[in-house]
């Protein structure tokens, strides 16, 4: 972006040719338009940030302040809101649940997605296209249609011999596996495109040197695909952390709820409990990991989220 703007080859074409002539678009009128532009941009910036800032401020108020003076600044920092949200409103438990599920689902999504995409991208075999397009089709299916049967499939996996005790409803493993399954279409789609761009010669050299297909994948191709994998891991982290509808169906037991879902329930009950500031504190707790990931990796997050549409 900066590179194209400060292109040394043709820095100021128009100016260099006719330095004395007035630049089209630079003048009093253009300046006014420029100010107007800036005004619009700033306005949307405020529309975006103010509700969020307000939510954060509200999490530090007392309930009295929240009701009588919603717009004002908090008189002090009411840390007790966070304590109430964390323990009384169970947000702490939900947070831990989310961490458990996401720490299983994101690595598994990346691993399985990469395995599938790698084979689909780089090996000729009958049925390759069929499997690829089957994955791709999943991108446009509305999740709601799957909810009902998925509920029963997950419930029935609980009756399986041996593994059944880890699966079924209200199981972290079940929810993680469902996340993995629903992330496959996009992950495979994205990574197939990525693996196709990696040079063939390296892979062949590996095989010639006596690498097995397995070690070629784990020791050569995966490290090479690292940038793509990072984008996807971020994308899937955000998607899984924020997921609402799937856990709503699978995690029916209160102590197994994940953060977004628990927060939704808390919001529904807040009116009765008259504890708004604890709700906002819970909201800030839910928002923090996402905010940190976003600030640290904003370039990759933006690239990862938009790449799917552009490709």
């Amino acid at each position: 972006m900066t590179a194209t703007r400060t292109d040394p080859e043709r820095p100021t074409n128009a100016e260099a040719v006719k330095p004395a002539e007035r630049q089209p678009g630079v003048g009093a009128g253009a300046k006014a338009i420029g100010l107007l532009n800036g005004g619009f941009l700033l306005l949307w910036g405020l529309i975006t940030t103010l509700p969020l800032l307000w939510a954060i401020l509200s999490s530090f108020k007392t309930n009295g302040e929240f009701r009588t003076d919603p717009m004002g600044l908090p008189s002090g920092l009411e840390w007790d809101n966070f304590a109430r949200a964390w323990s009384a409103a169970n947000i702490g438990q939900y947070f831990v649940n989310s961490v458990i599920v996401v720490s299983m689902s994101v690595p598994l999504t990346i691993l399985f997605g990469a395995m599938g995409a790698y084979v689909l991208a780089r090996y000729d075999f009958p049925g390759n296209r069929l499997i690829y397009y089957t994955f791709l089709g999943g991108l446009v299916l509305p999740v709601f249609l799957a909810l009902v049967p998925m509920f029963f499939i997950v419930r029935n996996t609980g009756d399986l011999p041996l593994v059944g005790q880890f699966l079924g409803l209200n199981s972290y493993v079940s929810l993680a596996l469902v996340y993995v399954a629903f992330s496959m279409p996009f992950t495979v789609f994205f990574l197939t495109a990525f693996f196709r761009t990696l040079p063939t010669s390296v892979a062949e050299a590996g095989i010639v040197d006596g690498c097995s297909h397995f070690s070629l994948f784990f020791r050569v191709m995966l490290p090479m695909a690292k940038p793509g994998l990072i984008s996807l891991a971020l994308f899937n982290f955000l998607g899984h952390w924020n997921q609402y509808i799937l856990p709503l169906v699978i995690m029916q037991q209160n102590d197994k709820r994940v953060l977004a879902q628990g927060l939704g329930t808390l919001a529904a009950n807040t009116g009765f409990r008259a504890d708004w500031t604890a709700l906002f504190a819970g909201l800030v707790i839910a928002l923090l990991p996402v905010l940190i990931v976003y600030i640290l990796f904003q370039r990759q997050v933006q690239a990862g989220l938009t790449a799917g549409v552009l490709k």
Binding site: M1, L141, P142, L145, V208, L238, L310
Partner: protein
Amino acid sequence: MTQTGLAGAAQSKDVRRPRPKRARAGSPMGRGKYPFILAFLLPPVGLYLLYMLSPYVQAIQISFTDWSGLTSSYNFIGFDNYVRMWNDDQIWTAVRNNLILLLVVPVLTLFLGLFFASMLNVGGRSKGAAVTGVRGSSIYKVVYFFPMVLSVVVVGIIFKYVFAPETAGGILNSTLSTIGLGGLTQLWLGEPRFLIWIVVVVMTWGFVGFYVVLFSAAMQSIPKDIYEAALLDGANRMTTFRKITLPLVWDTVQVGWVYMAIQAMDGFAVVHIMLGINGGVDGAGDVLGVAIYRAAFASSRFGYAAAIGVLMLILTMTIAILFMRGLRREKVELA
């Protein structure tokens, strides 16, 4: 590091061996490949089939039954669920609302996205350079994009309180009163005719930043000399936008449109959080996703829920195909 080392090795080997072109049996890449392919495809395909694809297939079957979900037995009742859906006013409200979301949210979002993206990328016109971004454009992009990474639940909760009455946090009403527009204050979430439009606003708020970033990427790839030429020919901002920027990012707009339309079909989390499981006052803010969830998990009518799901699938598919066709235009090749 591994990369360069191995690449070097590959080159030295190439001198002696003819290089095999693709992974086929007989070539070095083909040795023992089928067990490997099978082992690698099994976990992703297996999970995908079990948890995602098979539910879709079963759903269509369930939609022809009277299954309550509570018993193990059910009867096939043909198209009864679909007939019932046809006569269910609440479903029609939901369909109408989904269509509003489908038409209004993409138009608003893409319009604002294009507007802000073009300001950020070609809005600045300092002396010398033909087109530049405005100052701080990367900061704007970071800020605008942020709602996209938030959980819809968080967004829903915040806006539930933004639109609440003044005594329960409602900052919209407080803001209106403060700036002297107190006459416009409303019980926003208590008025049936506003409900779906509030959902429109919230969804638009969440998605605009995504499109600003998406369109910015597309605009960055437009060669600068095209703008310079246009400027020398005396084109003004509007003409430049209409004749250069828009045609050159049109492909991205088109893809973004389809994507947004599919997203807008959802609306579940926003409605469920802001308006509740019944779709707000008189069910006026209902959408199909909420109707499915309600029929299945609140009224134990799984057969009926599946039928609504099939309706939603048909709508989504139709819209995807229509939009793709309707928006197709000649591709503009970049120089």
